[in-house]
Symmetry: C2
């Protein structure tokens, strides 16, 4: 169990390393290539299936802006063949103010024992949450 938690953490960190390096090959190798995978970038509609997810990273990596991810509050949980990681992405970039993005990443273990990402959901944290309802963020 602890070994798996470590492997999941490693897979999760590799995701951010590939993101920072804009390395599409490494990013591709981390994901399950199936139609059930999901990716929700901040403010985006959910992308469904590896084709859409891959295309989004291809587009993001075309941009020459360098992003740096300072990762905090990592929590990894393994439940059988599945795992999830909650993490805060503190993102530094050349051209924009630092932002904090809350992320939830899901992984599934392959028969060979490798952990593959099946979902990434990320959303910008605004400073002063509005308690009024589910649909309202205060940006």
């Amino acid at each position: 169990m602890n070994v798996d938690v470590d492997l999941v953490r490693h897979a999760n960190q590799a995701f951010y390393a590939a993101f920072e390096a804009r390395d599409l090959e490494a990013m591709s190798g981390l994901w399950e290539h199936s139609d059930r995978v999901l990716c929700t970038h901040p403010g985006w509609a959910t992308l469904r299936g590896w084709g859409q997810v891959a295309a989004s990273f291809f587009a993001l990596f075309q941009n020459d802006q360098h992003l740096q991810f300072i990762l905090t509050n990592e929590r990894a949980e393994v439940e059988g063949e599945s795992a999830w990681v909650a993490i805060d992405e503190n993102i530094l970039s050349d051209s924009q103010p630092a932002t904090t993005v809350a992320a939830l990443n899901l992984f599934v273990r392959t028969p060979a024992g490798e952990w593959r990402m099946v979902a990434h959901h990320a959303s910008t944290v605004t400073a002063d949450p509005d308690l009024s309802d589910e649909g309202d963020d205060d940006q």
Copy 2:
């Protein structure tokens, strides 16, 4: 497997029914009561542990605004004892324009075969996604 997918869908629909009804008892019954549960409301930092999650629903349900969830694009996947649902929440309220929120909900099966929510991550979809980086939504 199909039975479990149906049970997961049912649990997911019960979450939104409890949300609409502002029924804290029903909401409480849906969640795993543990320190590993996670809840990210739109624009909020991630809440961790059942205490924080319960408090957020208590606060949200104090508000007398009626929310209606029109659920679209539901996709449920079961992987062993875990499951996830991607769904779009089209939220109507008395006082605000309709919004679309992308959500990812995670469930874990209890030994008794019931599915309990362990994570809810919701983020407002903005109309025109900004491809420039992970940390930037265009609101």
